[in-house]
């Protein structure tokens, strides 16, 4: 389905990443595969370094660290926040919402909306859409959108299918009204029939965690994982992205009347380098216009990867000028979403480490 928005803008971006770095070379001895094949996988997928939280660190810890940093530097005032959106698949608790926990820990005002959104890799685009809708209300001047996950805690260290690509991060985007009258177009699709492709089978009420669900098992592909762990059907996700994302973006651009060549950058969710290169090839977009270097430096941090891609590749352009970009997220749900938006004149665009 299609959406359009006017006079909304991203005014600042900060991403918090754990200082704790791990490397594929160190980890590959944990996998049940010949070293040469793991090295080949590293080369093709672009695996190398990634950031993982230390034991016990939760989404609210990363988010509070980032927001406190913005308060301390006068980049955001606590009382300005009229809505706090937290997009996560790894909340601190079932109840209460992680957004309420963050509100409480930072002593924010009561006169505000806290809202958790259960979305994964498409979560930055979904979160922006929700923020723009809230800004239609007179009482909402500023929305803080947080995309945060600590899914390394739900990945099996003996699963070569998922462990080497997962990274943890929390991105904070400040969303407010803007003067630019250009229409912001967005398109989104969902398909719950294919939800099995990305799933954490146990730990909810359908299959509560027990000693049995914590037991590692080999489902026939030499990877060991438990039902408490995140599972990904890699080839199903690959096909999903190749089949569904190009027509979504092409439809978005044609509706907006914007040629592919007029888009400065295609800022996609970062599953791995391989998938992004194949996506760019399929859409006949030069690789330089679709950054793919987030996984090799930080890992795939779900909804936070698009902000990371902007911060590490385009900081100067989006703080000193502006760019016409397509943002595209795709993953768990399944959900795929894209947005054509001008991003620029950001007050800040920084990476911050969580000690």
């Amino acid at each position: 389905m299609n959406f359009s928005f006017r006079k909304k803008r991203i005014s600042g971006l900060l991403t918090v990443v754990p200082a704790n770095e791990s490397s594929f070379i160190d980890e590959m001895k944990n996998f049940n595969f010949p070293e040469a094949r793991s090295l080949k996988l590293m080369e093709v997928m672009g695996y190398n370094k990634r950031r993982m939280v230390k034991e016990g660190v939760c989404v609210s810890d990363l988010a509070v660290h980032g927001l406190q940093h913005l308060f301390d530097r006068g980049l955001l005032k606590p009382d300005e926040i009229d809505a706090l959106l937290v997009v996560t698949q790894s909340p601190d608790h079932f109840m209460p919402p992680t957004s309420n926990l963050i509100q409480g820990r930072l002593n924010l005002k009561q006169d505000m909306l806290c809202l958790d959104i259960n979305q994964a890799c498409a979560g930055f685009v979904v979160g922006l859409m929700q923020a723009f809708m809230l800004l239609e209300q007179e009482s909402v001047q500023k929305v803080v959108l947080i995309n945060a996950d600590v899914l390394s805690r739900k990945a099996s260290p003996k699963d070569r299918n998922i462990f080497p690509l997962i990274g943890d991060a929390a991105s904070i985007a400040i969303i407010e009204r803007g003067n630019d009258d250009a229409v912001i177009h967005a398109s989104l699709k969902m398909d719950g029939k294919r939800s099995e492709a990305l799933v954490i089978p146990a730990g909810g009420l359908r299959m509560p965690s027990t000693a049995e669900t914590a037991t590692l098992e080999d489902v026939g592909d030499n990877n060991l994982r438990a039902k408490d762990h995140l599972r990904m059907d890699g080839s199903a996700i690959f096909n999903f992205v190749q089949l569904e994302v190009p027509p979504l973006i092409e439809g978005l651009l044609s509706r907006a009347g914007v040629a592919t060549g007029a888009v400065d950058y295609f800022l996609c969710h970062q599953p791995n380098r391989f998938m992004l290169q194949k996506l760019a090839d399929k859409m006949k977009i030069p690789h330089a216009k679709m950054p793919n270097n987030v996984v090799e430096r930080f890992g795939n941090s779900s909804g936070a990867t698009i902000p990371v891609a902007i911060i590490i590749n385009l900081k100067e352009q989006v703080t000193q000028g502006s760019l016409q970009v397509v943002l595209a997220g795709f993953g768990g749900g399944l959900t795929w979403a894209a947005m054509l938006i001008r991003v620029g004149n950001l007050a800040f665009c920084d990476l911050l480490e969580y000690p």
Partner: protein, 73 residues
């Protein structure tokens, strides 16, 4: 089919491949090889296979026949 065999051989990092060769007999045949073949078939033949499709595929020729049958659909 020769071009197809050459492409599969390149993915498995072997010099040549015969249509009767069994895919799973290659030590390099793992999830990365499967994904690389899926990507190659998508880019070159417009065919989208799933990893499960390889369960019923033994030789390179079986795979080629599967690709041909999907192309006609």
């Amino acid at each position: 089919m020769n071009e197809f065999l050459t492409k599969v051989a390149a993915i498995l990092e072997v010099n040549e491949m015969k249509s009767s060769d069994e895919l799973k007999a290659f030590p390099q045949w793992d999830s990365l090889a499967v994904l690389s073949v899926i990507a190659m078939l998508d880019a070159n033949y417009g065919v989208n296979l799933r990893a499960a499709d390889f369960d019923t595929t033994t030789t390179a020729e079986d795979l080629w026949n599967l690709v041909q049958s999907k192309k006609r659909v």
